[in-house]
Amino acid sequence: MRIVHYLNQFFGQEGGEDTADIGVLVKEGPVGPGLLLEKLFQGEAQVVATVICGDNYFSANVDKALDEGIPLIAAQKPDLFFAGPAFHAGRYGVACGALGTAVSERLQVPAVTGMFPENPGVDIYRKGVYIIPTGASAATMKEALEKMAALGRKLYRREPLGSAAQEGYLARGLVKNEFLDSPGAVRGVEMLLRKLRNQPFETELPLPRFEAIPPAPKLTALSNATLALVSDGGLVPKGNPDRFKVSGNTVFAAYEIEEFLGNPFQVAHSGYHHSEVRKNVNRLLPVDVLQEMAQEGEYGNLLPVFYSTSGNTTTVQSSKAMGKGIAEKLKESGVDAVILTST
């Protein structure tokens, strides 16, 4: 088994923060922690090459670093790719995550890295590369490499992988059904009895925690304000040209209001019954009233375009991404306030 290992300038023994600007380079064989990594495979595999890059160089231009690094990795014909572990180092985590994801996607080679769960690289790359949770410092190197090696071996052998909890990798954002020994009803009665007896129990669904978002400051000059309408009720022109999914949707689109109202439309949302909206779209998109109010001078003007999406079983992540995307567009258009209608 041929392994390629990625390290930053420090673990790659090129220097410290002073060499964080070095570009991508290759060394033959294992370097630093790579020696232990190789040993963990007990002759089954060799670290044939170590790719090294300075943390600043990589994070300053991830795409460039990838374009330079991936061919170097590919040239080594790896069976397995390891990056880091990066522990709590943010730039290093980003490099490991980006490379691991690219190796996995572009080279179809299994990739594993390791990071402290709060490393910013985790949220960005957890779906693209397997990330083993590590401690915050390199004091936990041995344990981290052992876990990385074990997972890597399974991936190489194409063994079926279990859940994040079973295999020890950080959740990748996929959820699947498993069938336990006990039906849900029995698990429920037992859980309730434990709760009633003040005995410890474990919920099967943790409660979400949402970051506090400070409210935007109030409008002071409503008479000049530009308002925009946004809706998550799934309004789309007939034919659903932007391909909103009726559930688990991840995209939004801008539609010119006059054109939308003047042409056939449909509702791409399978979570509510839309006959009332189809009979009168103002019940979801109150354009009639808003246009009158603009004419009466109640506020400045209504943006001629509305932003539409479909919000049925949308994940928190997608919702955040779409919200940010819509907000950016609205700011570019000089919008001061938004009215969002939801089904």
């Binding site: 979400p208 949402f210 970051e211 506090a212 978002i213 409210p215 935007a216 400051p217 109030k218 409008l219 002071t220 409503l222 304000a225 009720g233 509510y272 019954h273 839309h274 006959s275 009332e276 909206v277 009979k279 009168n280 103002n282 019940r283 979801l284 109150p286 009639d288 009233v289 808003l290 009158e292 109010m293 109640e298 506020y299 928190v316 306030a337 938004v338 009215i339 969002l340 209608t341 939801s342 089904t343």
Partner: protein, 66 residues
């Protein structure tokens, strides 16, 4: 600001200007009213919306049009 019948989810995620909508299938009016009354109800929702935009936001709370 947001108009939604399902205020619980909006409150949970911290929406700070929230009006409780009429129903899931018709957020800004009662679709069973006569068309004029239905439109008048929509107007009430939007009047309230504009009023709230001019007030400080309050996370986890909602208002109604009554």
């Amino acid at each position: 600001m947001q108009i939604s019948a399902v205020v619980d989810v909006a409150k949970m995620v911290g929406v700070s200007r929230l009006i409780r909508g009429y129903s899931i299938t018709s957020p800004v009016c009662d679709p069973h009213l006569d068309p004029e009354k239905e439109k008048a109800m929509r107007r009430k929702y939007l009047d309230k919306a504009l009023a709230m935009l001019q007030e400080e936001g309050r996370e986890g709370e909602f208002q109604t049009i009554e």
